[in-house]
């Protein structure tokens, strides 16, 4: 969910690895980010809308990844995927580390680019290879 730079990169890679991938974004023009070889499905719609999620095939999904710009939207859609549709693996991007920590305790795997970026740069500063 969310066809930004991160979403597109994830979709392309998983597609190349042979997974069946569907990308959902409420702005269909953003599907242009995906390279020409992308073989997955495109679903224009709001990932917080249950009908749109169902059209995108959420009922059959083994994993759901939310990477829109909005922390709360990502969390909401992730909770829908988990609680309503029982998706086994749900990963949610949350920029605000405080919020991410709380979401994590609620059973959603969260990734905070803010914390991860800070950690990586501090590691570089210390002369270690980035994790």
């Amino acid at each position: 969910m969310g066809c930004g730079r991160t979403g597109a990169a994830i979709a392309e890679r998983l597609d190349r690895e042979g997974h069946r991938v569907t990308v959902i974004d409420r702005d269909a023009s953003r599907f242009g980010r995906l390279d020409g070889g992308f073989g997955g499905r495109l679903a224009a719609g709001n990932g917080m809308d249950m009908e749109a999620l169902e059209r995108a095939g959420v009922r059959e999904a083994d994993a759901f990844i939310a990477v829109t710009q909005g922390d709360n939207r990502n969390f909401f859609a992730s909770q829908l995927a988990r609680e309503v549709y029982g998706v086994a693996r749900v990963i949610c991007r949350v920029k605000d580390p405080q919020r991410g920590e709380i979401f994590g305790r609620l059973g959603i795997d969260t990734y905070s680019p803010t914390s991860a970026g800070a950690d990586a740069m501090i590691a570089m500063l210390a002369g270690e290879a980035p994790a």
Partner: protein, 224 residues
């Protein structure tokens, strides 16, 4: 009782107005600076500028000692997040407004009570602690008209009468009667009002106090 309301739009504001006073401490958290300042003026300073979805804002608002957090912004995802963070901080009672009724399913799965008409439900939620008898605004119609709900208390002068016998303010009309069992009825000439009936009334905003006198009785003050 300390009540935090996240979202200072129309719903948040009217809710705050209903709850302010008595022993309640109240705080409205509003993201927009100008709106927050305006709310501060109207609510005796009980407004805080900030994003209630940020854990540090809720924390600074004293969420740990809050008895109830009501998330009533116009965005369901924000309301969900506010409720989750509040519960994480140990708030026993959280309540969310759902803007899209279909989302009530998710809130239900998360164990969060929801409501479409926040004012109404939040008042119902806290009424064990707070003997609220009030004229509750449900919806603003155009031209200064609004839809309000009044639940008839034992002391109501309207009990035992028919809607036609009521002395309502001008341009007021009982549109619907919901009995204490939750069954809605269109008022008929022979409908007798009983205790616990919720009357949905169309009235003018400035007539609320007068309407309260007619339906609740003069003994109850209106501090709004």
């Amino acid at each position: 009782m300390y009540i935090i309301i996240a979202g200072g739009g129309k719903v948040g504001y009217s809710l705050a107005r209903e709850l302010q006073g008595g022993d309640n401490e109240l705080l409205v958290i509003e993201r927009d600076g100008e709106r927050a300042a305006e709310l501060g003026e109207r609510l005796e300073g009980a407004a805080l500028r900030g994003d209630a979805c940020e854990a540090s804002v809720l924390e600074g608002a004293g969420v740990r000692r809050a008895d109830l957090v009501a998330a009533v912004t116009g965005d369901d995802e924000d309301n969900l997040v506010v409720c989750e963070i509040a519960r994480h901080h140990g708030v026993a009672r959280v309540l969310a407004r759902v803007n899209d009724p279909r989302n009530a399913l998710l809130f239900g799965k998360r164990g969060i009570e929801t409501t479409v008409s926040a004012t109404d439900a939040i008042l119902a939620q806290i009424e064990q602690e707070l003997p609220v008898v009030a004229v509750v605004p449900v919806m603003h119609l155009h031209e200064g008209l609004e839809l309000v709900e009044v639940r008839l208390p034992e002391t109501s002068p309207a009990v035992g009468r028919t809607p036609r016998e009521l002395l309502l303010p001008p341009e007021s009309l009982v549109a619907l009667i919901v009995d204490s069992g939750g069954v809605p009825r269109i008022p008929a000439p022979d409908t007798t009002l009983t205790v616990g009936d919720a009357l949905v009334v169309v009235t003018r905003a400035e007539s609320r106090a007068m309407l309260g006198e007619a339906l609740i009785g003069g003994a109850h003050g209106f501090d709004t």
